[in-house]
């Protein structure tokens, strides 16, 4: 199968049918072998029954029902896990993304990109509560992770399935997919997409997530920093603590020898920082252990995007680039 379109749905009973029709029309035009996966994230309305009825007459539509509401990231993760296509496209279920953009994404994937991200250049949302915070967040995410993407929040994205299926996706990480995936060194493209104002229902998030995004960002930064050699990372943290410890200990000896009063507190504080340095080093060892025993073999992620270049012996022939796909 060539293409899987994954759509998380949460209380979208009005949008399901128009969305299904729009996606099906696009896929028909594309003409490749494809499937649609609707993931019902524990909706309280008739989302599932509407989708189930559509699926009854279309074997290409798969509907997954969650037992309760888990959030958008787990819904996407489930869809991606179940996807059978070699390319996976994700999009929002609220009709704000336009399925007609999908062919542009496929084109980019075929050009050899591993991840294609949508950019809502003409965003139809409230300025204060949505657009400005998102502008700031995107700038920050780009600075911190080193993956400069103009619109991390756009759900319309395309992935090469080999890559996205290996990238751990949990909690509220879906907006950081390109950043997490950067461990695997993917070729990322960003293309403009259309964006429509909301037709049905309420927008499901607002200002309160900034705080969470900040913490997630810190997590991503640390994970990305950890991956190759966590011990080194922790050792770097330990160095200032150890330096401080040594200088405090020396200082206390000096004060005791030449000062008027003995300086036990200074020596004690020095010992504290010495202990911290050691603990951080041991934490680093523990981190190495975790890295090695984990299910996601972080060190193997870069292999996902590796290509083999065959140099042509004939000057006129083009060099060949072949994907190496690990098992």
């Amino acid at each position: 199968m060539d293409l899987s379109v994954v759509v998380p749905l949460y209380n979208e009973e009005d949008s399901v049918t128009p969305l299904y029709v729009a996606i099906t029309n696009t896929l028909k035009k594309l003409g490749c072998e494809s499937e649609i996966i609707f993931v019902d994230d524990g909706s309280h309305d008739r989302t599932f029954s509407v989708a189930e009825r559509l699926a009854a007459s279309d074997p290409k539509l798969r509907v997954v029902k969650f037992r309760r509401n888990y959030g958008q990231t787990p819904a996407m993760a489930a869809g991606i896990d179940l996807a059978r296509g070699s390319t996976v496209v994700t999009m929002d279920g609220d009709l704000q993304n336009d399925p007609a953009d999908i062919p542009n994404f496929i084109e980019k994937i075929e050009e050899g990109y591993d991840i294609v991200v949508g950019w809502r250049f003409d965003r139809q949302d409230k300025l204060i509560s949505r657009k400005i915070p998102s502008r700031i967040a995107n700038w920050l995410i780009g600075k911190v992770t080193g993956v400069p993407i103009k619109d991390n929040g756009c759900s319309l994205k395309a992935f090469r399935a080999d890559v996205i299926k290996q990238v751990p996706l949990y909690s509220e990480m879906h907006r950081f997919i390109p950043a997490i995936a950067s461990i695997a060194g993917p070729r990322v493209a960003e293309i403009k997409v259309r964006h429509h104002a909301r037709q049905f229902g309420e927008s499901k998030y607002g200002l309160s997530r900034i705080y969470k995004v900040l913490l997630d960002l810190l997590t991503i930064k640390t994970i990305a920093g950890f991956t190759s050699r966590p011990l080194k990372w922790f050792a770097l943290l330990a160095v200032p603590a150890l330096l401080l410890a040594v200088s405090m200990l020396v200082g206390s000896v000096v004060v005791t020898l030449y000062g008027t009063t003995p300086s036990l507190p200074m020596a004690g504080a020095g010992l504290f920082f010495g202990a911290l340095g050691l603990m951080l080093l041991f934490n680093g060892v523990l981190a190495e252990l975790i890295n090695r025993t984990g299910d996601t073999q972080v060190t193997k992620l870069p292999l996902l995007t590796a290509v083999e270049i065959t140099i042509a012996s004939n000057v006129n022939a083009e060099s060949q680039v072949t994907r190496i796909t690990p098992e």
């Binding site: 029902k65 969650f66 037992r67 943290l237 009063t261 507190p265 920082f273 934490n283 984990g294």
Partner: protein, 313 residues
């Protein structure tokens, strides 16, 4: 066992049990009245020779009673698991080994399974030994409910009915069988509390030792962490760590500024010790959070976050 079992009833026998055997007969009678194919399994957690002999006497006359003897006392959770592993009914009912609910109400509890995945009891009307007991019970549930965002009123009741799939999917270990309803609803199962008549003989003097309080506290803490932060350890450790660190740094700056600009000696001040300790502790807690994140990240693909109810096509 050759005949088809619909309901497996498991009774873990720990420290507290009714030794006369009259309760066993009451359970058997009440279960017969449901008219469903059932088995009643007593799991003896530890050696209870007298009670074991009594059970064997009853089992002699009634083959629906089975007895599983554990080699030593492992705790109620293990006893329950042993019972679940060795039974086959689609519906599992757990009952206390002592008088807690009216045996005749079991039918009502089992009927609840038609509309939910896990049915638990709320003993009502509820007798209480003292005002303090009522207060303690209320405080416990208020704490649990406000931390996990649920609304249970009687987690301490050992009588529960659930579908086998709940037991297969909800991870229980340690001393957490009390919290099965919380963990189950976390996994997306429908959990319902039903008012059940309390047994007249549900006697409990209402006194717990300090050890029990400590254990309860640890349990609440564990469940709080499991329910709220399993997937985001840094949000938990980071919060505590950064507050500690902030206090430490502010304090440290204060003493350093005093030394630099106001000539207060630094080296012999205990305040230096305290502030350094806070900084060290804060950083260490933060580092633990990072380790937690790393564990989650490297295991994210096997620790599936979601549970799928149904897949169409």
């Amino acid at each position: 066992m050759s005949r088809h079992i619909e309901i497996s009833v498991i009774v873990p026998v720990g420290n507290r049990f009714d030794a006369t055997g009259s309760l066993v007969r009451e359970y058997l009678k009440a279960l017969s009245e449901t008219g469903r194919a059932f088995e009643l399994v007593y799991v003896l957690d530890g050696k209870h020779p007298d009670f074991g002999a009594e059970l064997i006497r009853v089992a002699d006359q009634d083959t629906r009673l089975r007895i599983i003897q554990l080699a030593k006392s492992f705790g109620e959770t293990t006893a329950l698991s042993a019972g679940i592993e060795n039974t086959s009914g689609e519906i599992i009912v757990t009952l206390p080994a002592y008088y807690q609910i009216e045996a005749s109400e079991i039918e009502k509890l089992i009927a609840e399974i038609d509309v939910c995945d896990l049915a638990i009891c709320a003993r009502w009307p509820r007798a209480a030994a003292s005002r303090f007991e009522v207060f303690r019970r209320k405080a416990f549930h208020w704490l649990i409910n406000s931390m996990t965002g649920s609304s249970f009123t009687d987690l301490g009741c050992g009588a529960r009915a659930f579908k086998r799939i709940v037991a297969e999917e909800v991870p229980i270990y340690g001393d957490q069988q009390q919290f099965i309803p919380l963990l189950a609803s976390r996994r997306g199962f429908r959990v319902r509390e039903t008012q059940i008549r309390q047994s007249d003989r549900d006697k409990f003097d209402g006194r717990y030792g300090p050890k029990i309080y400590l254990r309860r506290f640890l349990d609440i803490f564990t469940v709080f962490f499991l329910v709220r932060f399993t997937k985001k350890p840094l949000r938990f450790f980071g919060m505590i760590g950064s507050i500690t660190l902030l206090f430490g740094v502010a304090f440290l700056l204060y003493v350093v500024v005093q030394r630099l600009f106001f000539g207060v000696a630094l080296a012999d001040r205990p305040a230096l010790l305290l502030s350094s300790l806070l900084v060290v502790l804060g950083l260490q807690i933060f580092a633990l959070g990072l380790l937690g994140e790393l564990i989650i990240f490297t295991h994210a693909r096997e620790l599936k976050e979601y549970t799928i109810d149904k897949i169409v096509n």
